[in-house]
């Protein structure tokens, strides 16, 4: 059975986060870097702040938040965002 990727916020990182309108500004206390997250990336980050999640569950959550009927349409965008947030060290993945 294929393993499932589970996402969570960077476990060794501490973040300061502020939200204005639908955009987040995230300060990574470990690196001193500041990141501006667009609307969808912000929602992905917020979901993972609340609880770790699999990619599929995240796609459903994001679809529901933005009232997208066919949540699968968001899959490529969510995958790109997860990859981007991961490369910035804001989130990390584990295998279930």
């Amino acid at each position: 059975m294929p393993k499932v990727i589970n996402w969570r916020l960077g476990s060794s990182r501490e973040f300061a986060v502020r939200k204005w309108d639908d955009e987040l500004v995230v300060y990574d206390c470990a690196t001193g870097d500041t990141h501006l997250l667009d609307v969808i990336a912000s929602q992905v980050f917020i979901c993972l702040q609340q609880a770790p999640s699999t990619t599929d569950a995240l796609i459903r959550l994001i679809g529901s938040y933005f009232f997208v009927d066919q949540a699968d349409e968001l899959a490529p965008e969510v995958a790109r965002i997860l990859d981007n947030l991961s490369s910035l060290g804001l989130i990390e993945s584990t295998l279930l």
């Binding site: 300061a16 502020r18 204005w20 500004v25 300060y27 500041t34 501006l36």
Partner: protein, 271 residues
């Protein structure tokens, strides 16, 4: 600030532009002890130079003697921007009217100082031409109303706009072109202990012939631009992040393009 110099240009500049400042005695505490001296070298006789020293540190390479007064001003900016980390320091002009401070961050050449000089010529209080000092505990702006640095065409523009203005002698061939400093308004100096709360952050841009434009900037976007203009955002770490965030919470942020100074001032009066 203790200033020591044997160079006549420096004495003349200080006497002309800082005459409304209170004088301290030699025994009073000073944050910085600065000197503008003439370096001891053969150049002293061939090509006279000036050297800025803060305590025992020479912050810059010597400059031609004629640039001694601008060098003092640049040196004082260096002293503050390198040391005053109990503030968030934003590279910006700051003016205030009716208790509402407007911060104008901008890179060189954007028309920031020209706009600042125009505004203080029309009743706005000068808090700074160069640096917004944002107090970390309450977000208030601490004034340091020093001379306004104007360059090249801006010198003539402000002289024509406000003929009563007092300027230091223009100095040519500096790294910034021709530079002259405008005396801060007496009332701004007398009120320099009076902090002000920020109401707006306006990113000004002079563009010849452009129509007046003012567009709101989404707060998260404004955050990054303010942080980009803060000298010590990285040094302050999380406290810097919180300081910029608190500022963004307090203010409205705009991009502002202007070409006619009078129109720009009317727009600021309506902020």
């Amino acid at each position: 600030m203790h200033i020591q110099s044997v160079i006549p240009h420096v004495a003349e500049g200080v006497s002309l532009l800082y005459s409304d400042y209170p004088l301290s005695t030699r025994e009073d505490f000073a944050d910085f002890h600065v000197r503008v001296t003439r370096p001891r070298s053969i150049r002293r006789w061939l090509r006279p130079q000036a050297l800025f020293m803060c305590d025992t540190i020479s912050a810059f390479k010597p400059l031609p003697l004629a640039q001694a007064f601008p060098m003092l001003e640049w040196g004082l900016n260096w002293c503050i921007s390198g040391h005053a980390h109990r503030y968030l320091m934003i590279h910006a002009a700051v003016v205030e009217k009716d208790g509402r401070a407007v911060i104008m961050p901008a890179p060189p050449g954007s028309g920031k100082s020209t706009l600042c000089a125009g505004l203080i010529s029309r009743g706005w209080r000068l808090l700074s031409d160069e640096m917004a000092l944002v107090r970390l505990d309450d977000g208030a702006i601490v004034p340091h109303p020093r001379p306004v640095s104007l360059k090249n065409a801006s010198i003539g523009i402000i002289r024509n706009f406000f003929p009563e203005s007092i300027f230091s002698a223009p100095v040519t061939d500096t790294i910034k072109g021709t530079v002259a400093h405008m005396k801060p308004p007496r009332e701004s100096v007398l009120r320099m202990q009076e902090s002000a709360l920020p109401a707006c952050v306006v990113f000004p841009k002079y563009e010849a012939g452009a129509a007046l434009q003012m567009f709101a900037i989404p707060p998260a976007r404004a955050f990054l631009r303010i942080a980009d203009n803060a000298f010590n955002y990285s040094i302050l770490g999380c406290a810097g992040f919180e300081a910029v965030a608190c500022l963004v919470d307090q203010v409205k942020c705009y991009d502002f393009t202007y070409s006619i100074l009078d129109d720009a001032i009317v727009a600021f009066d309506r902020l």
